[in-house]
């Protein structure tokens, strides 16, 4: 059921509940990202930004609610969802024993990119050309993050889910990330990003997660028990 996305490309979720351990993280959450749209998730630590992004990616099952990616519910068609998705989590998935170029190239190739130039361009986008042959174990945390973000530039995907992507980045790399997201939007790409630092992303919608805290404090009486 692929490739009808140019017409109906959109990403939305309705009435989502998320339970972690014994605690309800959020309930009744709705969101919608139109083609070319950016949704910024805000909220204090522990408000459920990462959980929501993992729910959006399909790594976590929501306790209730539905998520639609370009018309199809992701539970019904998880393959179509995954193929059109980039997820950047807290961990950078950089192998210490592989060079920067090998790390980026592996993920690009897994997503079907055979073109070496695209990988080189992705490395250039985050100023990694000089580090390309350096093994992952020698990278600083900011450099690891850049190598992880280079995956975004290496292969196209309609939906980017970014969990605090600017953590550890210097000013120039943050600028590169903003440029990359701007270019992604121009092609109709959708982005959901959680961040504590103010990223310059132009016109965005903001979803404040503290509005979706459960009205009852918790489904169990004691919050910290899990």
């Amino acid at each position: 059921m692929a490739n009808n996305f140019p017409v109906t490309r959109a990403f939305r979720g309705t009435a989502l509940d998320c339970i972690r351990g014994d605690r309800k993280v959020f309930q009744g959450l709705n969101f919608a990202v139109p083609a070319g749209g950016v949704l910024v998730l805000s909220g204090p630590n522990g408000s459920g930004k990462s959980s929501l992004l993992r729910v959006m990616a399909g790594l976590l099952r929501p306790a209730a609610g539905r998520i639609f990616h370009s018309g199809a519910e992701i539970r019904d068609d998880p393959d179509a969802h995954r193929v059109d998705l980039h997820y950047v989590g807290h961990q950078d998935a950089i192998k210490p024993a592989l060079s920067v170029a090998e790390n980026v190239m592996f993920w690009a190739a897994l997503h079907g990119m055979r073109n070496d130039e695209a990988v080189q361009a992705a490395l250039s986008a985050f100023d990694l050309r000089d580090l390309a042959d350096l093994p992952g174990r020698l990278l600083s945390s900011g450099q690891r993050r850049r190598a992880n973000l280079a995956r975004l530039a290496a292969t196209p995907a309609g939906l980017w889910l970014l969990d605090e992507p600017s953590v550890g980045l210097d000013a120039a790399s943050t600028q590169s990330l903003e440029d990359l997201i701007a270019a992604h939007r121009k092609t109709g790409g959708m982005t959901v990003v959680s961040t504590h630092t103010a990223l310059q992303l132009g016109e965005v919608k903001t979803l404040a997660l503290d509005h979706f805290e459960p009205t009852a404090p918790s489904i169990l009486d004691d919050e910290g028990s899990a």
């Binding site: 099952r61 997820y87 989590g89 998935a93 993920w107």
Partner: protein
Amino acid sequence: MIRAMGLIIARDVRLTLRQGTDIIMILMFFLIATALFPLGVGPEPNILARMASGVLWVCALLAAVLSLDHLFQADYDDGSLDLLTLGPLPLELVVLAKVVAHWVVTGLPLILAAPVLALLLNLPVDGYAALFMSMALGTPILSLMGAAGAALTLGARRGGALIALLVLPLYIPVLIFAVGAMDAAIAGLPAKPHLLILASVLATALPLAPWAGAAAIRQSLD
């Protein structure tokens, strides 16, 4: 799809070879554990010859278990498993690819080392063909079942010990029929029935273990 599996196999093999110590550690364990038996029961050639098939296989099982905690744990810890789960390749095939890579870096060295250790234990000459055949059929089963066990223990504390407890009982049929094949060959009986049963275990584990492993990984990421 085949190409994507090839990529994962190549990546995992390369990672293991670059780190290097893993293969050497497993082979050294196999060697030392096997060498303990002549020291423990005495260097009587007849006793050793009688025990050789069982000792070789028990030590091979233990060496295989020793290698299992690396199978998914590193990818789980650094977030790669999230991305592999979200990648275009179905997770079952990701698991199968990782099983193949695991077999290349552990099963294959065990197969190659086994005849040398068989010499040490005075294995009768008639047993070598059955040793090779049972190893060739048995070690892929060890990797397959071990992958399901390793996936189940992701996120658990003391995962390594837990894997051994989960997986070693599953290895019992492999042990019984592999040693049965060797003992039959040594006694001048046909080893084929035992080997066919091993082959059927392999044919069962081949589709089921990746499926179970993928389900366990999804559970661990949830």
